[in-house]
Symmetry: C2
Subunit: 274 residues, 2 copies
């Protein structure tokens, strides 16, 4: 196979399998080429991805080593995207009577959810999550795309335990905003001990749901390595979880006056970015 064709197929493969390690031998067999040729291909791809701000191609030494593509966008590109999101979501037509913000089309869009998932993955990849957890329903697309970008499985807690999923761990928790008792259930086989769990959701008000998920994780003797949400409300300032990252803060929503104010959060990415 000629170099140009290998470059095309390798680039496609790597971009579809982020954060996973592949050996040169694997690619050599796959594309019927010498390891030295693959190595040269990967150098070209590495430079192209790096220069375009797509991410890095890392070489992992050792017996379990190989190459790994990591999505790493420059801070400016992320800021620009979050600003665009902020502007889209600030449209007055999105205000729902009762003071809610209609975000469903954005978080269910494959285009936006994959970009948001890639940002969450980039922010938490160094914590080495082994799975992503959310609770049904609206967090699922963001959580799935985050899991995809991290190359790890997605686990979804349900509001009730389901007969179709076998034995489960169930917890009750107090919703931070409505102060009502809520339930959450996860099949016992869904999460393993010592899992490193990244919690993802679309929206946080009081933080009760995220805290509920944390408690659920603890019941499995697993560990929460981060909490990522798309939008957090400015009030209450004190959330029921200590550490979380949101891309946007909802500072104000007034259905009467038709006002909504969202603020992009300063994303904690080193400025050198790439």
């Amino acid at each position: 196979m000629r170099r140009s064709k290998r470059l095309v197929l390798l680039s496609k493969f790597l971009s579809e399998n982020p954060n996973r390690i592949f050996t040169l031998k694997y690619f050599g067999d796959k594309y019927d080429a010498a390891k030295s040729s693959i190595s040269e291909d990967l150098n070209i791809i590495k430079d192209a991805f790096h220069e375009a701000g797509e991410g890095t191609l890392e070489t992992i030494p050792g017996a379990a080593g190989g190459v790994r593509f990591r999505i790493k966008r420059p801070a400016q590109a992320i800021e620009k995207f979050v600003l665009e999101l902020s502007s889209i979501l600030s449209d007055r037509s999105r205000i729902i009577p009762g003071g809610y913000l209609y975000m469903t089309d954005v978080i269910f869009s494959p285009e936006y959810s994959s970009k948001i998932g890639e940002i969450f993955a980039q922010l938490f990849v160094d914590e080495e999550p082994t799975c992503v957890l959310t609770v049904e329903t609206k967090g699922i697309p963001l959580a799935l795309m985050t899991a995809r970008a991290l190359g790890v499985p997605l686990v979804v807690a349900r509001r009730d335990s389901r007969v179709t999923e076998g034995p489960s761990v169930n917890i009750s928790y107090i919703s931070g905003s409505s102060r009502r008792i809520q339930n959450m259930a996860l099949p016992t086989r869904a999460l393993s001990e010592k899992a490193r769990v990244l919690i993802v959701d679309d929206f946080m008000k009081g933080g009760g749901t995220a805290r509920g998920m944390s408690e659920l994780v603890r019941e499995f003797r697993a560990e929460v390595v981060g909490v990522a949400v798309l939008v957090a409300t400015a009030y209450p300032e004190e959330k029921l979880v200590k550490n979380y990252t949101s891309l946007l803060v909802l500072e104000k929503i007034d259905a009467e006056r038709g006002e909504v104010r969202l603020k992009p959060v300063k994303i904690p990415i080193k400025k050198e970015g790439v």
Copy 2:
């Protein structure tokens, strides 16, 4: 920018944006190259994608024309994947007391859900769906990945109308298997008139849920262009929807004896495939 770098970035971009049309001018501006160079790049990519069975790069003539990457895997590759799925899901440890099959880990896995979504997209792309519809919860990952592969939005019906999503259309329907009355709701702003809707779900027994979704679509004066499910049960043979496509048929599940039998469905793809 040198050709090799353009090939890398173009391949990544196209594979991330399937089924969408881009002009040569768009790429020329993006990669700072003459249209003639871009055209040569695209020919190389087209051949590589075609030979590797990844898909086709089509040239759309006319004012709204450009190039479009379509995922088109050869029939054998799809059959092999469905066979692998069948074998994974036939594991006895997946039998849940009550005669259910535990599939959650597979349908929530980014790797499997994206491959299944790509197959659904390939099977229905010629129907030109303008959106993908599912109902919460377990169908969401497959539906999202199908929408991604088609380059169209995802719409998710809820079991109850939500105050946070504004006015909605609500329907009641009879579940085909349990014969119970169920509810389904979709915000009025979620689906437009004349939408061409591909319905996606993980599992079909009686077909009541798919029929409910079809009725919901009709309330919006939109049109159902297809119904795709991962697994359909062999019994009841008569489903409440006439036309549907499933990748697998669940012929038997017996919790007492620890038996489960799944059969891959002959996929209706022309044998020449690519």
